[in-house]
């Protein structure tokens, strides 16, 4: 069902965890639907210098989380925003059709985190440790 790459990243995901002083945090999905992805970004000079994720979901969701974080690490925000779910799925050697939405989650997660960063920057330094706002756990 899954490619070797998917299984490899599912078994040994990269960039797992949270960044306590993240510059941007994106949370997408819904626990009711069975998949939630939370992306933490550390950004310096419009470039993603660190990224971590937390995911509640299937093997595909975990593998895409890992893959997308690897793909955007080191990229500028503009470059990162161009990473699509198709790119992620391709980098994984493909996903079963019923799991494509998991890769969409990855794309959206990054976008949400960048938007969060941009919004915070727009509001200046008002909400420095605002990441708790999304955490339901």
């Amino acid at each position: 069902m899954y490619t070797e790459k998917v299984m490899e990243l599912f078994m040994n995901p990269k960039n797992v965890g949270r960044i306590e002083d993240a510059d941007g945090i994106g949370e997408v999905g819904n626990p009711v639907c069975g998949d939630v992805m939370k992306i933490y970004l550390k950004i310096k000079d419009d470039r993603i210098v660190d990224v971590k994720f937390e995911t509640f979901g299937c093997a595909a969701a975990i593998a895409t989380s890992s893959m997308v974080t690897e793909m955007v690490k080191g990229k500028t925000l503009d470059e990162a925003l161009k990473v699509t779910n198709k790119d992620v799925a391709e980098a994984l050697g493909g996903l079963p059709p019923q799991k494509l939405h998991c890769s969409l989650l990855a794309e959206e997660g990054i976008k949400a985190a960048i938007e969060d960063y941009l919004a915070k920057r727009g509001n200046d330094n008002k909400k420095e440790s605002g990441e708790k706002q999304c955490a339901k756990a």
Binding site: D35, M37, A61
Partner: protein
Amino acid sequence: MSRFVYLDHSATTPVDQRVIDAMMPFFAPDFGNPNSLHAWGRKARQAVDKARNQVAQLINAYPAEIIFTGGGSEADNLAIKGVAFAKKDKGRHIITSAIEHHAVLDTCNWLAKEGFDITVLPVDEYGMIRPDELERAIRPDTILVSIHFANNEIGTIEPIEKIGNICRSHGVLFHSDAVQAAGHIPIDVKNLPVDLMTMAAHKMYGPKGVGALYIKKGVKVIPLIHGGGQERGLRSGTENTAGIVGFGEAAALAAERLAKGEMEKETRLRDKLIDGVLKNIPDVILTGHRLERLPFHASFCFRYIEGESMLLRLDALGIGASSGSACTSGSLEPSHVLLAIGLPHEVAHGSLRLTLGKDTSDEDIDYVLENLPKVVESLRAMSPYGKRG
């Protein structure tokens, strides 16, 4: 990986070597069609007759009450559609439960489109039918009640005798899907008010693709598969001789195991597993009834994590399990059973079923109890909801 531990016996079981040995000759050289009059055919006919006896004995039925089918789902369809079409001039109301197998529920859904009226009874948090609710649902035009013997996802055993007595007292036929129960707990149809009952060979160490429907003497059903008139005209088609022989042998072996205390043996290991999991892993619930459950069946929901990822991590450790999470099914909804017992979606997503078999050992359970907590912990460490130390 240090061990292979198959704990998915509710999905299917390995075919017993004695069953394979019994089947072999009927592929060749004893490949005859039981309907042929020559030597090849007569040998096949004898074998089918013997198997019918063996299956009948397992549930204390008369051999003529056993109709072999192409599987459990077919037998469920035959029972329900068969009674529906046979009785449709008498009434068109059928009662079933919310946690039946899809072979029952989807059949009822189809009948609903064809002009039948279906009542789907709710169950309590343990997956139990409430007999009083059943009784209230019966109407003058009710022709059939279909309630399974035991549930495949949560292992709960229904109060079959009470249900059957209510049906009897209202003159309504009672079908029970015993695919998970037959061969694993004692069933005696002469002392149970059941009119039709479904079984499947592959859930009791027999081959896939062969099932049986017990049809009590005198109960009329319309065949699902018309044709050459095999199986008393109720299931046409050249008999799957080897498969039927395998089912017969599997039934005989199951009866033998039951007599030798298989239930007690499995119950002990099951309880060791259940207690071990509940004790060693936080934020977990047992699904289904704690006592009224199949002796080989353990099922849980682990909070904050998802079933498919659990079972694939277990697979990598050589452990075969299953889950009713939405992600394993490729649908957007978790199992209808888990929702029907009142679990919230996010909890149902974390379901894991571990079903033991006749060859499961203490070491197997130890291996699972050693590894499952690690799997849960490592997935929770990734989860945005997971509690961290």
